[in-house]
């Protein structure tokens, strides 16, 4: 039977989309669906001989009954806030500086990307040595500058949180600065000329011209950074493993500890489901925005 042209086109489109759909299905949809299934089973790797059976919301009750849960949620929320403000603020500052013409700008632009390019493991090893209370360069510097105790900054709750947040921001802001730099380059220069003629100072120009012009990019970056910070695990685990006393225990780290150190896959999956639900608060507005912009 000969296919109509329309059917042929549809078949062709399906053939083109099929590999992508299969990959997304296999690497994204299936793992997410599996996590949901595991979150309602007693999946414990060391008790595999007992089999995995349905336990309803038992894992969720276990998770919400953890004594350190309130602290974990507080730390995660604070980390979100600090990270987003830090990366957007830091990225904006660097983007504004790099948007100006000066000698060596290209080289500086390249160097500013280094924190983003260096693997998290290497970054954490460098900072672990730098913040050591007895021989760390950074801790000596901070002690000399502020007169603070040279005890290891990663061994005390508030300093450990500040250090982890700082390193996360340090690693993430170059990407933000690149995106903002691209957005800044689209702002017409004559708007600034006109504003100067009208007597607007630099601050006024920033808030009245720059920020409104690049606001779509800023909003997108805020949502992206919020989502990225929410799932942070590597830096926290490598630096403090969530300690001391859960002071840096974000949800991403807790999922790893429960799933891969304690082998409580069911509980870790339940935590993952909770994280999934929380991240929907960022994902849905993001896609709604995208939808509005497209339409």
């Amino acid at each position: 039977m000969r296919l109509s042209e329309k059917r042929k086109t549809q078949l062709f489109l399906v053939q083109l989309m099929l590999p992508g759909v299969l990959l997304v299905g296999f690497f994204l949809v299936y793992p997410i669906a599996k996590s949901f299934v595991m979150s309602v089973t007693n999946w414990h790797l060391l008790r595999a001989a007992d089999g995995h059976y349905f336990v309803g919301f038992y894992n969720f009750r276990e998770f919400f009954g953890l004594t350190y849960l309130k602290k974990t949620f507080t730390v995660t929320a604070l980390f979100e806030l600090v990270s987003v403000v830090g990366t957007i603020g830091g990225g904006m500052l660097i983007a504004l500086l790099l948007n100006k013409k000066f000698w060596g700008r290209t080289i500086i632009r390249g160097i500013s990307m280094l924190p983003w390019a260096i693997p998290a493991f290497v970054v954490c090893q460098i900072f672990l040595l730098s913040f050591n209370g007895d021989y760390g360069m950074l801790s000596k510097f901070l002690t000399a500058l502020f007169g603070m105790s040279s005890s290891s900054y990663l061994a005390t709750e508030v300093p450990a949180f500040i250090v982890v947040s700082f390193i996360h921001i340090w690693k993430a802001f170059p990407f933000v600065s690149v995106m903002l730099l691209a957005a800044l380059s689209t702002v017409p220069g004559d708007l600034y000329e006109a504003a100067s003629i009208d007597g607007a100072n630099k601050w006024r120009q920033f808030f009245s011209i720059t920020l409104p012009s690049i606001s779509p990019t800023v909003v997108t970056l805020v949502i992206m950074q919020a989502m990225a910070s929410l799932r942070t695990f590597d830096i926290v685990y490598l630096l403090t493993e969530g300690g001391p006393n859960y002071a840096t225990n974000v949800i991403g780290n807790d999922i790893y500890v429960n799933g891969f150190k304690l082998f409580k896959m069911g509980m870790a999956s339940a935590e993952g489901v909770v994280l999934f639900v929380i991240s929907m608060f960022f994902v849905i507005p993001y896609f709604m925005r995208e939808g509005k912009e497209i339409s």
């Binding site: 790797l45 060391l46 001989a49 290891s152 990663l154 001391p244 006393n245 304690l262 082998f263 409580k264």
Partner: protein, 435 residues
């Protein structure tokens, strides 16, 4: 036609992938996989030569090493057993327990060896039953692994020159009260710049397996622990983590750390490094520490400036110590248990054991070991006089250990008082055991 051609190509490629993906043994040679975590230097020293010798004697058996980094090994082992994909021969750690891994599979993940050991003679004439600790690795009364080698812990190591300089007698290190005075005396600002240059003491403060190992010896000596004498019944009611003995021992350690130790969070390896470069004058050590120190210290310092003293006693209470090891077990999924047993038995031969840098369990090999590694041999002799104890080998061990790490880290970093840290640990462990 074109479509048929593509379809045929896909079929051929798929067949090649699946055909090439499975390791086919020839009918003559048996291949066995052996998983362990010993890095290249140690492989070259005592693993690869043993394998080569074995394969020379048994040309029909080939041993493939599967190296997995230490930090990931037990995670990987658990996953492999759950997936029925573990190696034919698995290296275990008595300090990590067997139950957790053995019970992943119904009927047990490792085969019992009791029927194979009696009367077995290794190729060099070694009677397997004469090997030390040969029946020591048991679950439910069944021997599920052969010992391979052992460690011993702990003793106190010290820098002789630093003790001399401070006027401290090594015997002062052998009692809790005199040890405290000694480490305080050893802690000094040598160059008068207001900063401490030499610490009298070091003890891991970072929460991990070793903080528990290092601390338990102190706790056990006062009659504390996790469960009484670490024996059953292993129930929530029987936990003693926040007992007076535990609090007293931990507070003593905290006092040493605060008044005579480096600041902040550090591991045993960090402490060994500080000891090696003369920043720390005394610390507790096990047999494997000497290997690390030999690499870290100047040769002359290692040979002549390193002293060993008994672990400090509390009054007339002797230390409670540990000998533990990395035994080798045979997977219950292996298709070649006889060949696997032949190999793990060979690891206890004089030849294989003489290659060891750890403490051999073959008595003849240990005589040579004592000459080549005098510090390790001395340590073993010192601790064998004391009561030996092991941590509970129960399914919940991993959860309990995680809580113990956090509890001790909180105590030693000062984020909680010792009592609060141990109370928290007790409460969390009771929840685990109550399930």
């Amino acid at each position: 036609m074109k479509k048929l051609g593509w379809l045929l190509l896909c079929l051929v490629v798929s067949t090649c992938i699946f055909a090439g993906g499975t390791a086919e043994e020839s009918s003559d040679v048996v291949e066995l996989n052996w998983s362990h975590w010993f890095p290249e230097a140690e492989q070259q020293r005592f693993i690869t030569p043993a394998i080569e010798k074995f394969e020379e004697e048994n040309p029909n058996i080939k041993i493939n090493q599967i190296y997995i980094q230490n930090v990931d090994y037990f995670k990987q082992l658990a996953v492999d057993i759950a997936a029925n994909n573990e190696a034919d021969i698995c290296t275990l750690d008595t300090g990590d327990g067997f139950s957790a891994y053995y019970n992943i599979r119904k009927g047990g993940a490792f085969i019992p060896l009791d029927d194979r050991i009696p009367g077995y003679v290794v190729s060099d004439g070694t009677q397997l039953e004469d090997v030390d600790l040969i029946y020591s690795n048991q679950i439910d009364g069944k021997t599920i692994a052969l010992p391979w080698f052992t460690y011993a812990a702990p003793v106190t190591i010290y820098r002789k020159s630093l003790l001399e300089e401070a006027g401290v007698d090594p015997t002062d290190l052998e009692q809790w009260d005199t040890y405290y005075e000694a480490v305080k005396k050893l802690t000094k600002d040598r160059d008068g710049d207001g900063k401490i240059d030499v610490y009298g003491f070091a003890h891991q403060t970072e929460g991990s397996v070793l903080i528990r190992w290092w601390t338990l010896h102190w706790i056990w000596q006062l009659g504390g622990g996790i469960f009484p004498n670490e024996e059953g019944p292993y129930t929530a009611d029987n936990l003693i983590w926040n007992s007076d003995a535990n609090i007293k021992a931990s507070e003593y350690l905290l006092k040493l750390i605060k008044e005579a130790g480096p600041t902040g969070k550090y591991t045993v390896n960090d402490a060994l490094q500080l000891f090696a470069n003369g920043t720390v004058a005394t610390m507790q050590a096990t047999t494997w520490c000497f290997e690390s120190l030999e690499n870290m210290m100047e040769e002359d310092d290692f040979k002549n400036d390193l002293g060993i003293a008994y672990f400090p006693s509390y009054g007339n209470k002797r230390p409670v110590t540990i000998t533990w090891g990395n035994p080798v077990a045979i997977s219950s999924n292996t298709k070649h248990p006889d060949e696997a047993f032949k190999f793990i038995a060979f690891l206890h031969s004089e030849y294989a054991q003489k290659l060891m840098t750890r403490v051999p369990v073959n008595k003849v090999a240990r005589e040579q070991y004592a000459i080549e590694y005098p510090y390790q041999a001395k340590t073993l002799n010192m601790v064998l006089e004391d009561e030996q104890r092991m941590v509970p080998d129960i399914v919940q061990w991993r959860d309990l250990d995680n809580i113990i790490h956090r509890s001790l880290e909180d105590a030693f970093l000062g984020t909680k008082t010792v009592k609060n840290a141990l109370d928290w640990g007790q409460s969390e462990m009771q929840k685990i055991m109550a399930k």
